[in-house]
Amino acid sequence: MATANQPDHEESDTALIARWQRGDQRAAAAIVARHAHPLARFAASAGEREQLDELVQDTFVRAFNSLDSFRADSSLRTWLFTICKRLILDRKRTEKRRRDRVELDESHAVEAYDALDAMVADETARRVRRAVATLSPLQREVFTLRVNEGMPYGEIAVVVGSTEGACRVHYHNAMRTIKELLSDD
């Protein structure tokens, strides 16, 4: 489907994958350039702070090692985000076992964003991130995938393991919560 800001001459992910499979490593570089930053942004919004490079790299390595099993009926972007989400969950489980403490909950998330805020001077951005951090993990994932990536509900449902309708409800609830929090400040 042609979109308003996505020119038709832009090579599709499927075409890039085919080029890479023929040995063209520049196609792999193009795929990484297209998806790496959104993946890092998604991981950051999920509370990941350390070794984001490693997390994103692992996502791509896993994806490229099993591109034969990639089905073109879902988009490469959806697949990458699904892998990334699994890696984030693995990290959280490992961290939980290692530190013998509860998984990052909403209050911890707020503290994590507070730590980031020390590096980011923008007051508005700080407030927005604090508001997003108060969302439940599932609401936060749906909201950030929808807002940061413009992902349709169908794709989001695949990534977070829910239904399209439920994702729509989560998104609108999240948006209302954030608006209320920002108006209270």
Binding site: Q21, Q25, A29, V56, F60, V61, G150
Partner: protein, 193 residues
Amino acid sequence: MTDCENGEIRDLLPAWAHGQSAAAEHARVEEHLSLCLSCQAEVALLRTVVASFDAATPRLDMDAIVRALPAGGLRVVPRSAQAPRARYWMAAAASVLVVGTVSLAGLRGVFGTTAPTVDQFALDSVGQEVGPGQAAAVAAPASTSGLSVVGGVSDLSNDNLNALLVELETISPTIDAEPASLRRPLIENEGAF
């Protein structure tokens, strides 16, 4: 500010902000935005969210990521792609085996190294042995005529067929001798009674 009541347009705003909406939807959203202050505020909020997370996301070393990826030309051929060729070779091997077995059996028949004996022929359809007299009767036509019916009857010439018919007409339709088991009295000392 209260939310816009047009839920359909509000649903399209994130994709529109990313330029990922279809051309027709893009025009509808723009038309709506030109009139709706609430949706304009929501778009501003969406852009602020994206900018705030962008600012919090560190730059990545793209070259390092690409270097870590496997080379595309060195893919291992999946098993599913190998299967048809394997099946082809198995079918070819089975064909060779069948042809070889049939050929060997034919050669043995020609050279007569393991030709069946008369006694072997004298087995009925359920594998029960018949008496030697019957065996001799069964063997009689071939042994007396000197004909060898190695192939089918259709392989014989007209002369041979005629000779075979003559020989068959000379054979008695009844068995010359009773089997030994039938000639033996059921009660050995019948006269004693």
